[in-house]
Point group: C2
Chain length 354, copies 2
């Protein structure tokens, strides 16, 4: 049996028991809240965990890119929500091919986007479901008002080959209450207009444990990061370090000064995502250490506060600021249970940028 610290570094370790506990806890919370769970696979990019999420009760999965959808469809996942505007003939053709073999729906936030979908999907006997994306405070994509959502829903309904699937939002972290109010207003407007809203899908890990606030408003919740958790979720209060399932294993390659340690993991392993925090990760094995800087292949660690200081050749585990893009940097991840290697998986949906 291989112990985790015998693996070559840098490497991504996934603690299976922690991941499983995170999955089960969220599914139970969704069940209590009366919400369907549709996990976002951008975090793990692995059919292995997508299937596990469905086994535990998820109604399907969320993907962010056509390439991710193709990988997951190939792996047998059959109910996909692609939360991205699909624009242009090349991508629309790929989307049509997916629609012919799995249940897949997308979002749209403009008449232009709906027009492309309407021209692609024309069969009233096999209609294609489209959600209206709503900007409820994130300041990213989405229609800006319930009135605009209603107008776009009418465009969708007017297209013979499309089906209005409902409303979708990705709420800004910490603003779930405002997002729910926005959606409730939209619900009221649609009801007054006599247009049924088949589903309302919201989500996000930062506010996952306030999911029940959406009860009676939304029907579906789409968390992603919750499977692994990370330093940003600890900062947001959504997790403790003991919940974090993904760590980056690194080796101390230099101790140039009394208080400086250098590891073989930089932005190519940990990313440069700060997400409003100071420092580049939490060092599990040396909690007093601070990851003060990263270059591409080096991590700079201040070990001045550590009673015992790491030695050259020693391996350490780091909980990254943001686990999702870490999955995108590694061709493979190692599944670990009780410190032992269980299996090494190829990150099947890594690098699917389009």
């Amino acid at each position: 049996m291989t112990r985790y610290n015998e693996l070559d570094t840098p490497a991504v370790l996934i603690d299976l028991d922690r991941a499983e506990a995170n999955l089960s806890k969220a599914q139970a919370a969704a069940d209590r809240a009366g919400l369907k769970l549709r996990p976002h696979i951008k975090t793990h990019k692995l059919p292995y965990f997508a299937r596990r999420q469905v086994e535990l009760g998820a109604v399907g999965i969320t993907v962010q890119k056509l390439g991710e959808a193709e990988v997951m469809a190939d792996a047998g996942l059959s109910d996909l929500l692609l939360t991205f505007n699909i624009i242009g003939p090349a991508k629309l053709a790929r989307l049509k091919a997916l629609h012919d073999r799995v249940t897949i729906r997308v979002v749209a936030d403009s008449a232009d986007c709906v027009a492309g979908l309407a021209a692609t999907f024309t069969d009233p006997a096999h209609r294609f479901g489209v959600f209206v994306e709503c900007d409820t405070g994130m300041g990213r994509c989405g229609v800006q008002s319930p009135e605009a959502a209603l107008a776009l829903a009418k465009d969708i309904i007017a297209a013979p080959g499309l089906e209005f699937a409902g409303l979708m939002t990705y709420p800004a972290a910490g603003k779930y209450h405002e997002a729910n109010q926005w959606l409730a207003s939209a619900n009221a407007l649609f009801a007054a207009s006599g247009i049924a809203v088949p589903a309302i899908t919201t989500g996000g890990t930062p506010d996952i444990w306030n999911m029940q606030d959406a009860s009676g408003i939304a029907s579906e919740y789409r968390p992603g990061t919750y499977i692994y958790m990370d330093r940003s979720q600890v900062a947001a209060g959504a997790a403790s370090y003991d919940d974090c399932a993904l760590t980056v294993l690194a080796t101390i390659v230099s101790r140039p000064t009394e208080n400086r340690a250098i590891i073989d993991a930089g932005t190519k392993a940990l990313t440069s995502d700060l997400l409003g925090m100071v420092g580049h990760g939490y060092v599990v094995d040396y909690p007093e250490a601070k990851v003060t800087g990263l270059s591409e292949e080096h991590g700079m660690i201040d070990v001045s506060a550590c009673a015992t200081k790491p030695r050259i050749g020693e391996t350490i585990r780091i909980i990254p600021n943001h686990c999702c893009p870490v999955s995108n940097l590694f061709d493979q991840v190692h599944l670990i249970r009780d410190g032992d290697l269980v299996e090494t998986l190829r990150v099947a949906a890594r690098g699917r940028v389009d």
Copy 2:
């Protein structure tokens, strides 16, 4: 013939004429300064350009990871400097396999690191070259003083299977003068001790056009980013936007408000590297636009200052803050000449994290 803007997005475009001009200009500068050029391939990760750099006069290449060295050796590159401490039996075995088939040398900055190399390379008839890495102001790896460099060189010389190759530094950006002074002091100390310094290798693109400052001190220069250049190098004064050869092609997927445009390129295409700058790239086609934020798959652009504003479906090109990690995010890049696609290359050394 495919035009660049017909490619599916996000995509990496490499302007061949610009890259070629950057390569030639740096080689000429090195020739004038009497320095050998040993380009760092971490920027492009492509055998195609590594070979071109050697054709133009480079003495060999620099790599940062064993995996990169393996890819380049497989592609026929035969003189490699690996500027990273190699620690641990698994990596030392891979290094030994490389030493048996190409000219490869590494750096070391500690007795521990040298001890591992000395135990691995034991054949006085086929000695392995080791540079002493010197911290001349970067605050990363490296011995802290010329005296420490001398002591470590003696360790290397004492090992029957090792050869002292010289001194190596990566100077902090803008601190090339201090770095050169450090190296000159070390040179004097080594001379006084009767120990020859076969080579001194320095580098960095930010100060590439001050390369001649190292004349008579260093023997070799190792720039990486210079082949593509990027927004950080423009900020450092080492390039203009017209020199930048790498752009990320993205599509406008949403125009949720009058002044907001959303593209299908986020941190998974552009990285979250800021390198001290504000914003996430330079929009070639809309110079007044500001890339104000990125999430994994979305880029948020403020188009308020643009006289004409981009429409949904339009493609735009972005010069990233930092081109090197962008190469690591894409499985392939497109070579472009006069706006036409010449060839699409697999990024052979992408993801070689260990």
